[in-house]
């Protein structure tokens, strides 16, 4: 309404190209809707398979079993996507921890003092729950990241205080741990990411904890919107 600059999202004139696109999109909608309605619902999927090997996976929650055991390779790559996003953001901009012209309200500071540790605790709780109920590294990491964001928003720019090397180690903790486990698994004749039988449980928990820490840091760094610590002068 008022925030928009007239040229950018003002009311558009009639545009034949847009009309064409609109018709095409309409057609696409109909096709997809029809496909969704008529396609068979695909039977069991892989539910049976997952249930069959649940015992061997080391965890009780099927989703976690799929994420970290059956299809752990996907997750390994996905953790790398997160890391890539951070590298990309760092390569683009420097985080300016702008001091706001208004002082932070003492109310906000006090609330944050209370909430941030609680968030850390809940994050750990979610990782713990991941082994048998809903939860896991992503959820825990997200809550941890939220704690970081909370601190940043309250202008406690902890990211600029943490030494750069330490921060990078923190960011890499999850990916490196995951990768190291994956590689170590290959010794003594097993495949990549094939956990030794009977020990999958704690390995999964280890990976999840490390990844949660890294994901939390990653998300907070993404929020900061650039590399902390001024220029490239670190190392």
């Amino acid at each position: 309404m008022m925030m928009s600059k007239p040229g950018i999202s003002g009311r558009r004139r009639f545009d034949p190209f847009l009309l064409l696109i609109f018709l095409l999109v309409l057609l696409l909608t109909l096709i997809l809707a029809r496909a969704v309605c008529t396609l068979p619902m695909g039977g069991e999927g892989l539910a049976g398979e997952v249930a069959r090997f649940q015992q061997q996976s080391g965890v009780e929650s099927p989703v976690t079993a799929v994420l970290l055991n059956f299809r752990g390779y996907d997750t390994l790559l996905e953790v790398m996507v997160l890391l890539l996003a951070v590298i990309g953001v760092w390569s683009l901009a420097t985080a300016s921890f702008v001091k706001n012209s208004f002082a932070t309200s003492p109310v906000q500071i006090s609330v944050v003092r209370l909430l941030a540790p609680l968030m850390c605790l809940v994050a750990a709780y979610l990782v713990r729950q991941g082994t048998h109920l809903a939860g896991g590294a992503f959820q825990g990491g997200a809550v941890l990241g939220a704690a970081g964001v909370l601190l940043l928003v309250t202008e406690l720019p902890w990211l600029s205080v943490v030494p750069s090397l330490l921060l990078r180690i923190g960011l890499l903790l999850g990916p490196l741990c995951f990768l190291a486990v994956a590689i170590l698994c290959m010794f003594s004749g097993r495949q990549l990411l094939q956990y030794p039988s009977g020990e999958a449980g704690w390995i999964v928990l280890l990976i999840e904890s490390a990844c949660a820490v890294s994901i939390g840091l990653t998300l907070a760094s993404l929020f900061a919107g650039g590399r902390p610590g001024g220029d490239v002068s670190d190392d």
């Binding site: 309200s105 109310v107 006090s110 003092r113 540790p117 605790l121 809940v122 709780y125 713990r128 928990l205």
Partner: protein, 176 residues
């Protein structure tokens, strides 16, 4: 008063020894509430609680507040009753055919010391009938009231006294 803008605050070891166990206990309690009787959970729980306690210590420089049990016993019913009243009050105003409101701003100086007590006061104001804390500057709280005809001043004093008892603030401090 200068705003506390330091990022992290390191306290002395003596302080640490005094305050750490309490925080640790509190966070352990929260962990227990969350996970229940779950022995294996403490493998993650213990470091997490430790971490949370450390973070909490790093973030809060002021000495912890001490809560008096008697005060708590008096405060909680008071708070519950008042906040229920506030809900009913809002409901009445919102649902009546024409909203009966007569809002205005009131400024109130509190004698509560700065820090946790004052923040607690400010936060609680918003949950009481007809009042909403709109600003806090030194010890002056700007309160937005939904009905100027209510006895705002008396309500505030009442609340202030309750909080003073709860947090063991001596009320004989200079009162402007």
């Amino acid at each position: 008063m200068p705003e506390d803008t330091r990022i992290f605050n390191f306290c002395s070891f003596a302080d640490l020894g005094r305050r750490m166990p309490l925080r640790f206990f509190l966070f352990s309690l929260v962990w227990f509430v969350l996970t229940g009787y779950d022995g294996a959970g403490w493998i993650i729980g213990f470091p997490a609680v430790l971490l949370a306690a450390c973070l909490s210590l790093l973030l809060s420089p002021s000495p912890g507040i001490s809560i008096s049990l008697v005060g708590a016993c008096r405060f909680i019913p008071f708070f519950l009753r008042q906040s229920t009243l506030s809900g009913i009050d809002v409901m009445r105003r919102a649902l009546s055919p024409r909203p009966v409101i007569n809002p205005g701003l009131v400024s109130y100086s509190t004698f509560l010391p700065e820090g946790a007590a004052r923040v607690f006061f400010v936060n609680t104001i918003s949950l009481l009938p007809g009042t909403l804390s709109a600003d806090l500057h030194d010890n002056r709280v700007t309160v937005h009231t939904i009905d100027r005809d209510q006895p705002i001043w008396a309500n505030m004093q009442n609340l202030e006294l309750h909080i003073a008892v709860l947090l063991r603030v001596s009320s004989v401090k200079e009162k402007k």
